[in-house]
Amino acid sequence: MDRFNPEVKQDPLEDIAMLSMEFGRWLMECGASGAVVDEFVARVAAGLGADRADLRVGYASLAITVGRGAEVATRMCKVGSPGVNQRLDQAVRTLAQQVEQGGLGCAAVRSLLDRVVQETPRYPGWLVDLAVGAACASFGRLLGVDWRAVGPVFAAAALGQFFRRSLARRQANPFISATLVAFVGAVGGGLGARQLGSHTVAAAMTAAVLLLVPGVPALNAQSDILDGRPTLGSARIVWVAVMLVFVTAGIWLGQLLLGEGR
């Protein structure tokens, strides 16, 4: 099936392969599951003029083979650290749907993609810090933290998120960063709760670090396995497990310092 306008000059398959994977890379880094990445990369490749696209979604890399008639090209690209950015994810998907309609060349699509990546808004850092503080305080209540500890959990989690952003700007290793943030959050939450006479100091220490629990990768791991991508799912599970160990190490160090949890 000829999905593109014959008037439009056909782009080289290498360019189509690299640009399609660029969409996949952004989706992966924004927290999409393997099935979503696969679907949208195929749609972009089709829109750019490939007859077929076979994508391999790995944890740290993507590999694609695109074909047009007898021509075939295979390319690979790295994927950065996993994160969650829903508005960028949505903007990339919307652009992919636009590209799928056909009529856009690689140069135009690349320019649109660059613009989407640069112009997608983010909330200001201070607002994210406060929102994370509120989320962890709410988590605290769900875990049975008493009212006296809610304020300290809020403050410690917000401080932890501020610290996490600072470390991310310095491109610190995410696992080491998790331990440091967990330590700061746990000690802050625990000390504050103790000062205010809380009876749930240990729970407050845990609640203040729940911002670090990798919930989205954990759920994506299961989805990937259910979708028939056990390799990607397993890699995500290993990442989640190691992250949890490093987060818990921070809580453990905090408990040692405050003499809690024995």
């Binding site: 829903q86 994210v128 988590f139 609640a207 919930g215 989205v216 759920l219 994506n220 949890l244």
Partner: protein, 154 residues
């Protein structure tokens, strides 16, 4: 079995707030944040009601995730946002992070030279680990089922 409605309401409100906070962290758009909070509140309402009825945490979490997944699919035209992301963000308050921390802290404690009850510590740690695995599995399966069924229908 009687239900503690005040507790269910409490969990619903804080589930919604937790999802809202995580929605900001995940950079959901302002309109999607409202849906995210509603998903979180629904999830915690269903899970708490299930727990109050005597269901296990895993069964309650599965039911909650399934209902969130169905609601998100039914409202997909109005929501105008990536449905899977919204469902995941709404179910984040149910991810048993506290249990995961307790499980790993228990494993750390096993290596302590002054440990008094290694057997009970190990069993407790194992139980927490299994609950984490089963609960996350239940949430992800519950969320994925409506999408997978919809794909089958197509």
């Amino acid at each position: 079995m009687s239900m503690d409605y005040a507790l269910v309401l409490h969990q619903t409100v804080f589930g919604g707030l937790a999802a809202l906070g995580f929605g900001v962290l995940f950079n959901l758009g302002p309109r999607s944040l409202v849906w995210c909070a509603l998903c979180g509140a629904t999830a915690l309402a269903v899970r708490s009601a299930g727990l109050e009825r005597g269901w296990s945490l895993e069964a309650s979490s599965f039911s909650a995730a399934l209902i969130v997944g169905v609601v998100v699919q039914l409202l997909r035209r109005r929501i105008g946002v990536s449905r899977n992301t919204l469902g995941v963000a709404g179910c984040i308050p149910m991810v048993p992070g506290g249990f995961a921390a307790k499980a790993i802290l228990g494993l750390f404690a096993l290596t302590s030279p002054t440990l008094e009850n290694p057997d009970s510590t190990l069993i407790q740690s194992l139980v927490f680990s299994l609950r984490v695995v089963f609960t996350i599995g239940a949430i992800a399966t519950g969320l994925a089922m409506p999408t997978l069924l919809l794909r089958l229908r197509k």
